[in-house]
Structure formats: structure tokens, C-alpha cells
Symmetry: C2
């Protein structure tokens, strides 16, 4: 990877050098370095682009980094990554995709991730999406993430689209087994003529399944956002969805959540709010010496972090 590519790695995976533990770097549609460990095996798929990540039962305090960088304009990259997290494991998985587009052609990465999380295993998943570049070509990212949580398993998903992504359709499906838990923190910023659509389907499919979706977004310019989180309760379970959006300039935001209680013991809650930044918040910061624009940035930063 060159300097530009490392800069992108820093943005999406907070990496300044090759990480400790298992990793697989993907650059412009091909592998660019891989390391398995005693407990985490990374193997190429035989039938299609992508990798299998097999984490042994009981693996603790280990991490896997699988960032993707596209620096070649006009590339369309599709990749299938399957994660098998063994019983009782406790791991960090850092994914993410960054595009540096210098040309006038569309660069696109579609990552299809499937997680099989074994009994009582614990996963923290980080996914950051970012686009940049002086070119006029569009940056498109369409991730699909499927998660299957066995009994007592848990996953925390931090999914962030920082900036520079012209178009995204995000599909996330999580099936939560008995006593399992899923927490999704989604953060999304769009600007200019960008568009973002996020569909989250959370299926609480076992006694004491627990699910939470916290989505925060900011839409600027003439960008468009559509959110469709759906929580289905099939057993004694608890589900909570919270979507908060800040709308600016001439942006448009739609939020269409769904609660589907299929069991008398399902307890499902949803809250959504769309609004602009409160004027008095800006005024307050301006009296502290910030310009209006600085105040606005400060508020957005706080809202998204």
C-alpha cells in the first residue's frame, strides 16, 4: 500500500501499521497481505471472491482486521466474507472500506458479510465506510451484513459512514437466539447530492433475546436518507429502536421503522426524531467565541460521537 492507501486505512480501521493478530488486507479487488494466528484461521474461498474467518472456540482477547481499500477508479469489487466464531470466543472484528477515487468513473465495493456466532461467544464488530478523492467518479458502497447469534451469544456492531460515500444501500439482518443480545450503533453522514438507505431487520427469535438499534444521522446539502429498521419479536424478548436525525440545508430524511410483535411476551419500543439543530444551542456556543459554522460542526460532532 502507498501513502494515500495508508491514509485511508487510518480513516477506516485506525491503522498506521500492519496490526497485531489476524488480518487480511484487500486492495483494488485482490489480497494484499494476510496473517492467520493459532486461533484464527483466514482462508480464501474456492468458489468466489472472499474469505472464511474461522475463530476457535474459547479464543479470547484476539482481533481480526479485514479492511478493504479501493484506490483504482472505476473498479467494481464484490466480496463474500464468512465468519465462524466458536463457542465462548471473545473477539474484536474490524472491517471497513475506504475509496480514493481520482478518476471520473464509479468505484464500488459490495461486501457481503455473514457471521455465525456460537454459544456464549462475544463479538465487537467495527465497520467504517469512507470515500474521498479529487475525481468526479462516484463512490458506492452497498454492504450486506447477516448475523446469526446462538444461545447466549452477543454482538455489538459499530457501523459508521464517515463521509465521501455518494450512494449506499445498507442491508443488515440479525437473528437473535435465546438469551442472546445484539446492539447496533449506526452513524451516518451524507452531504451534497449523496444518498443513503439503511435497512435493518432484527429478529428476536428465542426466549430472552435482546436487541437494540441506535441510529444517528446527519443529512446536509441536498442529500437523501431513508431508514427502515424493523424489529420482530417472536418470543419473550425486548427490542428497542431509536433513530435520531439532524436535517440541514435542503436535505430530506425518511424514517420508516416497524415493530412486529408476534408473541404476547414481546416487548418492543421505537422512538424516532427528525429535526434541525436548535438555534439556542448554536447561540450558546457562539457566545463562547465560536463562529456559527464552528458551533454547527461542534454540535454535529457531539451528536455523532
Amino acid at each position: 500500500m502507498d501513502k494515500t492507501e495508508w491514509k485511508i486505512l487510518k480513516e477506516i480501521a485506525d491503522l498506521e501499521q500492519v496490526p497485531q493478530g489476524a488480518y487480511n488486507f484487500r486492495l483494488n479487488g485482490a489480497g494484499d497481505g494476510r496473517q492467520s494466528t493459532a486461533n484464527i484461521e483466514i482462508a480464501s474461498k474456492a468458489d468466489k471472491p472472499g474469505i472464511d474467518i474461522i475463530i476457535k472456540p474459547g479464543t479470547k482477547k484476539e482481533s481480526v482486521h479485514i479492511p478493504v481499500v479501493l484506490s483504482q477508479s472505476g473498479l467494481k469489487d464484490v466480496v463474500y466474507n464468512d465468519f465462524y466464531v466458536g463457542e465462548g470466543a471473545d473477539v474484536d472484528i474490524v472491517a471497513g472500506c475506504g475509496i480514493h477515487n481520482t478518476g471520473c468513473e464509479t468505484s464500488q465495493h459490495d461486501g457481503i458479510h455473514v457471521f455465525h456466532v456460537g454459544k456464549n461467544a462475544k463479538v465487537r464488530y467495527y465497520e467504517r465506510h469512507y470515500g474521498e478523492g479529487p475525481g468526479t467518479g462516484e463512490n458506492i458502497l452497498n454492504p450486506r451484513t447477516e448475523v446469526y447469534l446462538e444461545e447466549g451469544a452477543s454482538i455489538t456492531m459499530e457501523m459508521t459512514q464517515i463521509r465521501g460515500v455518494d450512494s449506499t444501500i445498507r442491508d443488515t439482518v440479525v437473528v437473535v437466539g435465546p438469551g442472546a443480545e445484539c446492539i447496533i450503533n449506526e452513524k451516518l453522514l451524507t452531504d451534497g447530492v449523496q444518498s443513503a438507505e439503511s435497512n435493518v431487520e432484527l429478529i428476536l427469535d428465542g426466549a430472552d433475546a435482546n436487541g437494540r438499534v441506535i441510529s444517528r444521522s446527519v443529512a446536509r446539502g441536498t442529500s437523501r436518507q431513508v431508514f427502515q429498521p424493523c424489529v420482530t419479536g417472536k418470543a419473550k424478548c425486548f427490542g428497542h429502536v431509536q433513530c435520531d436525525s439532524i436535517i440541514m440545508d435542503d436535505a430530506k430524511i425518511k424514517s420508516i421503522p416497524a415493530l412486529d410483535a408476534q408473541s404476547v411476551d414481546a416487548q418492543l419500543i421505537h422512538e424516532a426524531a427528525i429535526g434541525r439543530i436548535a438555534g439556542d444551542q448554536i447561540l450558546k456556543l457562539m457566545t463562547l467565541g465560536l463562529t456559527e459554522q464552528e458551533a454547527e460542526e461542534k454540535i454535529l460532532e457531539g451528536f455523532l460521537n
Copy 2:
């Protein structure tokens, strides 16, 4: 009207005798008494079943009752009622439909109501739906309600489905003009194998338009409910939707609200919750001497009122 029919009138319109003011009674698909007043004219439509209700500008503290009763099993009644509420008027409109079905055939009433509410006029609209009868025939009510609020106008809509309605699809569309306000209080109870679908579309289409939907429902037995409230903000406006549902037995409830912010100055909020009655609430009432069933009824009554 006979005794059974008057009993239904009492349920749906709280009437024990012919009301004061303007009224139009509809019984088994035909007129059954009408009265216009100096300020409120009720006229039959020439081209289709239904009436025009024309309320003079400035009419104050008057009421219109237009209840519908079906006591003949197997009747399908469709009626079109248009309301023209003049500028600055301030009136109560009491609608509602009750079915007494003694037979084995389906009784159905579809009421299509359109309200044109003039500048600064104020309407309180009450609509109660009820079904009963020893027969095996189904009771179906599919109301469609459209409301157009001119500048500064307001409407409060109390829409209640008490019980005994086997199947209902409720469509409500309200377009709120500048400085106008719409408040919808919807209450719905289903039991047995009943099904209810409620679609509310609230379009805030002018500066300082204000809209609020408060929906409360109880689903018992194996009944099914689907709620789809949608609030669209097209200007500087405030919209708030709150859906709370109690689920019991083997019932199923879906809530799919939508917020659509098309203006940076639109402030839209949604909250929804589906859950069963809290066990400690029942216990508390039982320590006061109520049986479990009485405690449950008490809680549902409080929730729906």
C-alpha cells in the same frame, strides 16, 4: 328505529333521543330522519348515496349528528358524506356506525367522509364503531376519512372502535395548511379472530402546521392489528406520532410508522411501544380485592380512556 337500534345509537353516538341541532340518521342503507338548521344544511347527494353537510361561516356552538345503524344482516352499505365547514365556524360533528347482526351473512358499512374546513374554523369530530349480534355473520367497517384544513383551521378527531368489529381497514388522510392543527386520538380494541388495519397519513403542508396522532390499541384472542401512521413535513412544522399497544393472549400487532421530513424546518417525532400488561400492575389491583380478570379489565379501561 326500534329498541335494539336505539341501543346501538346509544353506544355509537351517546343518543337516547333525537338530538338537538342538525342530524341525519341512516338505517339499513336509507335515510331515517333528518333535520337541517338555520346554519347547517344537510342535503342528499344527487349522484350517489350520501349527504352534503354545509355549515355556514361563523356558526358557533352547533352540532351535527350523522349516525349509521345496520340491523339487517347481509347488507353492504357504502355512503359518501362531504362536509363544508365555513370560515370561523366552531362545531361538533358526531358520526359513527353500529351493526347489529343477527344472521349468518356479512354486514358491511364503508363510510367515505371528506371534510373541507375553512379558514380559522374549528371542528371536533367523534366517530365510534361498534358491532354486536347473536349471529355468525361478520361485521365489517371500512371508513375512509379525508380532511383538508385551510389556514388556521383545526380539527380534533376522536376515533374509537369499541368492540364487535370483525374486520376493519381504516384510511385517514389529513392535509394541514399553514397555521392549522390536527389532533387524532385513535382507540382500537380487537378480540377473537378480528383484524384491524389503520393507515393514517398526516401531511403538514404549510408554515406552522401542527399535527399529532395518539393511537392506543388492545389486541386480544388471536386478533391482528396493523398500524401505518405516516407524517410528512413539507414546511416549518411540528408532527408527533405516539402509538401504544397492549398485546394479550395470542394476538399479533405490527406498527410501521413513517416520518418523512421534506423540509429542513420540519420537526417530526415518533414513539411506539408494544407490550403486555405489566404483572405488577395486576398484582397491585389484586391486593385491593379485584380478581385477576377484573384487574385486567380495569387496566385496559384506563389505557383506552
